[in-house]
Structures are given as C-alpha cells and as structure tokens.
Amino acid sequence: MILLDRVSKVYGKEVAALDRISLHVEQDEFVIIIGSSGAGKSTLLKLLTREEKQSSGKIVIGNIDYDKLKDKEIPYLRRKIGVVFQDFKLLPNKNVFENVAFALEIVGHSNREIKHTVPKVLNVVGLRGKEKRMPAELSGGERQRVSIARAIVRQPKILVADEPTGNLDPRHAWDIIRILEKINRFGTTVLLTTHNQEIVNKLKRRVVTLQDGRIISDKAHGEYT
C-alpha cells in the first residue's frame, strides 16, 4: 500500500530531515510514528501528501509512483489521501457541514450526493446536530472531529493524521483516537504521528520510532520508550 525505499529529504545543502528511510505499510494497517520534535515525523507525512518532494529515494502509494507524478496530478493524489492536522486547518468562514462538504464540492459531487453523504460522516465522528456551527463556536476536540470528517468523507484508502491530539485535553484526545480506530476498522490505512505516550502504550499497534531523520525501531506492538 505504502512503500518508501531509502527516502531522504534534505533542506538546503546539509540539513537532513529524513535520512534514507525505508518503510512498508500494508493495507488496513494502523501505524503510529513517534519521535521527538525535529525527528522527521511531519516531514515524512508531508512527503506522502506531496507538500514536500523527497530529495532521493522512492515513494509508491498503491500504483502511484511519486517519481512519475506530474505537478498537475498532485490534487488528484491528495483526493486519495485523507489528512488530519494538529491545527485542524478548517475554513473559518464555513460551518461544520460546509467544511466537510467542501472536500466533496471540489471533486464535483452534486448537492444531492453531498446532502446524502455528509450527515453520515458527521454521525461517524459524533457531530450530528452541530452541522450549522461555525469553527469558532466549537471546542478543540469538535474541530478535530470536523477535520477528520473532512478527511474521510471521500472514503480515502489512506488517512494521515499529523499529531491530531496535540492540542487536545486527554479526554478529547481519546475520543479522536477512538474515531481513528473506527475508521481503520472500516478498511482505511491510518498513519498517526503523536507525542502522547499513554495513547501509544494503550493502543498496542505497530510503532515506528524516528530519531534524527532515521528509523531506529519498528515494532508490531510497540510501546513508547
């Protein structure tokens, strides 16, 4: 599903954010990527969403070889990958329903399709009844749920979550993790980066540890060490 082969990302001439990373993630896997700040977690996810381009190495997702990807094809790649951000990145002038609907609007879904799909997804993330609320009227946990709903509404095969619990209190953080687990059970591959030791240890999922741009451990049922 996701294959990274000796992938490096170097900023400028010397600063290597990632150094010959090799990683293979199967379909339906739930992988947690941990590491201290500056270890390269966010850079890794940015390479997958093509916010950044690798300096060397090979990235393949499904049947898409990133080396052969043209600039004009990048939007279509992003439509296949759901992304959840630590700072939510919601559109502030759109309400909950419109923020989620936006992901369907840009691919040309009809209003009827949108009205049919969005409520179902909001139900999955527990936001039923809050469709009309603006982002400013929501708690951090609720905003993150909107962000997740937007990421999964197109039913992507891969969901990338970059520290989605970073700005949340423990109770809301666990709510978000439960939602991500639910999405994973539906068949979506989940890549989650986090600093939260408790979440990592309780989830008992595959844990990849990054340090100074390198993978220092990759354990099937890892723990935060």
Binding site: T49, R50, E51, I64, L69, D71, K72, E73, I74, P75, Y76, L77, R78, R79, V83, K89, L90, L91, P92, N93, F102, A103, E105, I106, V107, G108, H109, S110, R150
Partner: protein, 318 residues
C-alpha cells in the same frame, strides 16, 4: 492518474466557482466598491466617447449636406458649354447632388425669400426680371470635397461659361470646420481619458485581488491540501474580478443612457441630432451597447485578476 471529466461535474464546478466568486465580492465589499467605482468611470467615459463621436459625426454630415456650392453662369452661355459643365460636375466623385437653377427659378426663389421686403422686390423690378443669373447648386459628398468641386469649376475650359462661384455661406462652413476640429479633439481627449482610467482600473483591481489573495492565504493552502486544482482556486478570483466588470458595465450604460434620455427630448427637433438620438435609443442598439460595455468590463477585470494571480498566487510549487 484518473481524472473525472464528466460534463455534469464540470458544470457543477463552474456553478460553484461562480457562487464563491460572487460571495467573495461581498466579503471584500469596500475594496470591491473602490474597484468598481474606477471601472465605472472608465467604462462610462468609453461609452460616452462613442456616443459623442457618433453624435458629432452625424451632426457634421447633416450640416454639410445643407452646404452647397453655387456656380453662377454667364447669361450668354451656350447649351454645349452648359452641357459640358453639367457633365463634369455630375461625373465627379465629390458631387453628392446637382441641381440646375434657371433664371426663372432664381427669380421665383428670390421673390419667395424676400416677399416681405417690398423695397428689394422693387429693386429687382427696376434692374429687370431676368437680371438674376442661372446657376448650378452642388452638394459635396463630404466637407473636404468642396475644394475639389471648386477646382473642377475653375478649369479654364469653363472660363467663358461661369460668372462666379460661391462656396456656400462662409460662416456656416467655418462653423462646420470648427465642429470637425472640436470633434477630433473631443474624441482624442475622451479616448485618452478612457485609457488612463482603464489603466487605473487595472491597477486597482490588481491590488484588490492581491489583497484578497493575501487575506485568503491560509484558506488557499487548505484548499490545496484537500485536493483543489489550481483552477478551482483561481476560479473565484477570476469570477470576482469579472463581476466588477459586469456591475460597472451595467451602471455605466445606465448612467450614459440617463444622460441621453434626459438631453434627447430637448434636441430631437434639431435635424443634426435627431438621427443620432433615434439611433442610440433603438432597443437593439441599447442591448449591443450593454453587451459591448459589460464585455469590456469583464475583459479588464479578468485581465487584471490574471495579472495578480500570476504574480501572487503561486500554485505550481505544491
């Protein structure tokens, strides 16, 4: 990578981009008003220049039509000489109309024109009823052609046939020439003003879109991250700037036609303005003026926003 290109989805997308563009116009209300105000001035001047140009051209043509060269004939002119002169004048490309006034016709006109002036009529009786010469009255195709007609008449072959030539009423001719000069000046000045205001309009719209891009920088980034194509991001800016053109264009037509309709009834009785007023108030012409003005506005708006997007909306480097 597969791309969905179905027409239905394309139409839905165009509709959404248009709605977003119009909403953005209201989000930037004050900047939009400033951009539209300048464009309104530019388009009004442009349309007014056209109206003014057509009006003065028609007026000059109408005045020129009433101006005639009178070629007075010698009393002893032979039929052959008269025929040759008539043939030369009639075959000239500068002649619009040619009329022979016999001595009897000249006398009848004189009597008609001065029927209330008994002293003058008595004078005519004293010098003899046939004292007025026969003549040709020639209308020229354009104001510049009177000189050419004079050249034909002054040819030496007609020396013995022609008594004198009068180039219409000299004050009328001078007035027409001044009108023509004024028309050229007004057209040039208006065109220059239209160009200046169009350039200012382009700069203001450019700046409005630039500010809009900066204001929505984070929003644009989010749109990119969820898979919006460059055109999906550009579309609303293009629609917004084009809407400036549509609104300004409609307002410019309303303003210029308000002037036409308010002045029109006062000048419709004058021959030189009637045709112009009737021309511009035809429904077809009003619709064409509206289409042309709005299209010009859309072109200026779209061009300005494209310039701003090209400079500030960097979408190539994802």
């Amino acid at each position: 990578m597969r791309r969905d290109r179905s027409i239905k989805r394309w139409l839905i997308t165009v509709y959404r981009l248009s709605i977003t563009g119009i909403r953005n116009l209201f989000r930037n209300a004050w900047l939009s008003v400033a951009a539209m105000a300048v464009m309104f001035v530019a388009l009004s001047i442009l349309l007014f220049t056209v109206v003014l140009n057509v009006t003065t051209s028609n007026a000059i043509t109408e005045l020129s039509r009433n101006l005639k060269v009178s070629i007075y004939l010698e009393d002893d002119i032979t039929n052959e000489q008269r025929f040759e002169l008539e043939t030369a004048l009639a075959s000239s490309p500068y002649t619009a109309d040619l009329e022979f006034i016999s001595k009897d016709d000249a006398r009848a006109r004189f009597v008609e024109n001065f029927r209330d002036d008994e002293a003058l009529l008595e004078g005519l009786f004293l010098v003899g009823d046939d004292s007025l010469p026969a003549s040709y009255e020639v209308s020229a195709v354009s104001l510049d052609d009177f000189g050419n007609i004079e050249v034909i008449a002054l040819d030496e072959q007609f020396d013995e046939a022609i008594e004198s030539i009068t180039l219409g009423r000299t004050d009328a001719r001078a007035t027409i020439e001044r009108a023509a000069q004024a028309q050229a000046f007004i057209t040039s000045a208006s065109a220059l003003a239209a160009i200046i205001f169009t350039v200012i309009s382009v700069l203001i719209i450019f700046n409005t879109i630039r500010i809009a891009i900066f204001t929505r920088n984070e929003e644009i980034r989010n749109m990119k991250l969820v898979g919006a194509t460059p055109w999906y991001i550009r579309g609303p800016f293009l629609v917004e700037a084009s809407m400036y053109g549509v609104i300004s264009g409609v307002l410019a037509v309303v303003a210029v036609y308000s002037i036409i309709y308010s002045i029109g009834p006062n000048i419709i009785n004058q021959d030189e303005f009637r045709a112009t007023y009737e021309f511009f108030t035809q429904p077809t012409v009003i619709i064409l003026a509206l289409i042309a003005t709005v299209t010009s506005g859309i072109v200026v708006g779209a061009f300005s926003s494209m310039l701003a997007m090209r400079k500030y909306l960097r979408l190539k480097h994802w």
